[in-house]
Symmetry: C2
Subunit: 343 residues, 2 copies
DNA sequence: TTGTAGGCGTTATCAT
DNA sequence: ATGATAACGCCTACAA
């Protein structure tokens, strides 16, 4: 009889008058136990307030029922919905989410990844495909399935579920070109530590190149994702390289910042300046006249990452690469440039 | 020699030519081992790519180095920054965050709580102080420290770190009264499953009552937090009980929705209608002319919850209740009601 | 259907 | 400083 401390399965077994093995089965493999016995064990368990010891089970079972996720600032509103969906989907399958976050720092990401592996994560979810070789090495060694999310892995070496940021960026830049814009500026995200931001910028270049146009260096400003930085970047662009008629922003908050800077300067949007964002956060649809942007199915990404991981753990196989649609949503911040007649 | 599978500590010990115990010490209690020995163990460990088995350690140590958090939609932008701060702070102390989320459902919350306890969370973070008696029972039985966040616990029975939503709401309502408003409407959050929303609504009533005013039932509309619902609620209020000159919204997204509805109807803000929110999300400061709201130190809440928990795990004691300041931030959406001269 | 007993990978207690 | 050897709490062949 354990003097203090929480009750162990042995206590439950003793009180129910059965063996340890039977008590274990009664709780987790009900079908292998006679109904009456099961009830006795359940009763004893309830009476004692028995709580299974996860670590012990994990050790014996070799399964932690835990999935790890290494995310950059869950801070970004769009990551939040993804995290929520991920957690919900996992919970529905009896799994729990072990979450580690870092500030777009690849070394911190590596450290976090190692910790999650040590903690026994049965699967891992990372963001993007820009990781240290060491991180990939850790992933490979651990032997558990993992999913790269948001971006799709072009190399085809890793399982991934996300979208083509470059492709979507090309389409939304094309939308501007179609409207007649030729002088385009970009407020890009931080491309050094963020492959999504880099791909989005590259997409703009691609679209322009297809029309024989270039993107002058002074027409590009990089800034970390935030409304405030968007304003600042826009101001900088207007100063150092005025004359453009449209701005492509790395994400919606940046786009809104740019928009606000225009308001402050009396630049009419979209009449005198077109603005496009990326992500389609909730406000994009509501702020008048509506932000033209790329819709990113963030919750879907979290949900699918979970499902794919669970499927693989169940021995099923899933397509290595899953590309989700990311449609351009045309709203009110885009129009033909000044001096060009409407179609 | 383990044929397959990842190497165990025994393998490291054998290769390093030391006992299991020494290998263990070399890795986690370096000071108890001679430098030379330690190097041999480290080398063997590196060569084998040894990864400590978390569950086994947890079982032997009785410490999981894990903190659990049960959150409503991490989806809400303001919860996100809190989660991020929490995870960062825990990581810095060698702890990992086990995250479970639910949709403002107390039963789901209970279930999630149980799971986290089973998983061996050494401490728990919950949101608000509206929980099922069963949940409190689980918390009490587990014996580990826990913190209620966002709200402060009025009963003083539980450790909590947050703010007085009621108090802050009184202050911002007072701000409207000071401006001369007497006809006030409220777009409240869902008060049934959210004590913060309920307290914020109660605060408005308190402030009005102090001036001998009442809040007519048709001047209150409840809606789940979102911009779209804010618009809808505002439309409803304008229809069913027109004549008010100010709106108190349950949070910023709702306030923005109300604002947008005004824009759509040509109601000038703040000249014809004052609007206040709650939370102070990033956009509140940037969208012209700026949303008057209550600043909620969300990241600070996450950070402090982590620190308090870690301190308590270290045997230190912390003040049971920690109330954070939540100042009213006056921006551009509030002004005297029509017909009242500026002070 | 139920019981017995060995093992999961580490740490901790005692010796040495 | 290092080495045996019990725990840690549970699961699961294998037997009965």
């Amino acid at each position: 009889m354990s003097a203090i401390g929480s009750p162990r399965l042995a206590d439950v077994a003793r009180i129910a008058g059965v063996s340890l093995a039977t008590a274990s089965r009664a709780l987790f493999q009900p079908l292998l136990v006679r109904e009456g016995t099961r009830q006795r064990v359940l009763a004893a368990s309830a009476m004692l307030g028995y709580v299974p010891h996860g670590a012990a089970r994990a050790l014996a079972t070799r399964r932690s029922h835990t999935i790890g996720a290494v995310f950059p600032p869950v801070d970004n509103p769009i990551f939040a919905s993804s995290t929520h969906a991920l957690a919900q989907e996992l919970a529905a399958a009896g799994y729990t989410l072990l979450l580690a976050s870092h500030d777009y720092d690849l070394h911190a990401e590596l450290a976090a990844t190692k910790v999650l592996v040590e903690r026994g994560a049965e699967g891992l979810v990372l963001v993007g495909n820009d990781h240290l070789p060491e991180t990939y090495a850790v992933l490979a060694r651990m032997g558990a399935p993992y999913e790269l999310t948001w971006s799709i892995d072009p190399s085809g070496l890793h399982h991934s579920v996300g979208l083509s940021h470059r492709g979507a960026s090309i389409r939304i830049a094309q939308h501007l070109l179609d409207l007649g814009h030729r002088q385009i500026a970009v407020v890009a995200g931080d491309t050094r530590h963020n492959d999504r931001a880099a791909e989005r910028l590259a997409g703009v270049r691609d679209a322009l190149a297809a029309h024989g146009l270039e993107l002058p260096p002074d027409r590009v400003v990089e800034a970390k994702f935030s409304v405030a930085n968007g304003r600042e970047a826009m101001a900088k662009l207007l100063e150092q390289a005025p004359g453009f008629t449209a701005v492509v922003a790395g994400n919606d908050p940046l786009a809104m910042g740019a928009w606000f800077e225009c308001q402050a300067r009396g630049i009419a949007v979209p009449r005198a300046m077109s603005i496009v964002g990326f992500d389609d956060i909730e406000l994009a649809a509501h702020i008048a006249p509506g932000l033209t942007t790329v819709h990113v199915p963030s919750a879907e990404i979290g949900r699918l990452a979970a499902r794919r991981l669970l499927a693989r753990l169940a021995g099923q196989s899933v397509p290595r690469m899953m590309e989700l649609p990311a449609p351009v949503v045309v709203r009110g911040t885009t129009a033909p440039p000044p001096g060009v007649a409407n179609a």
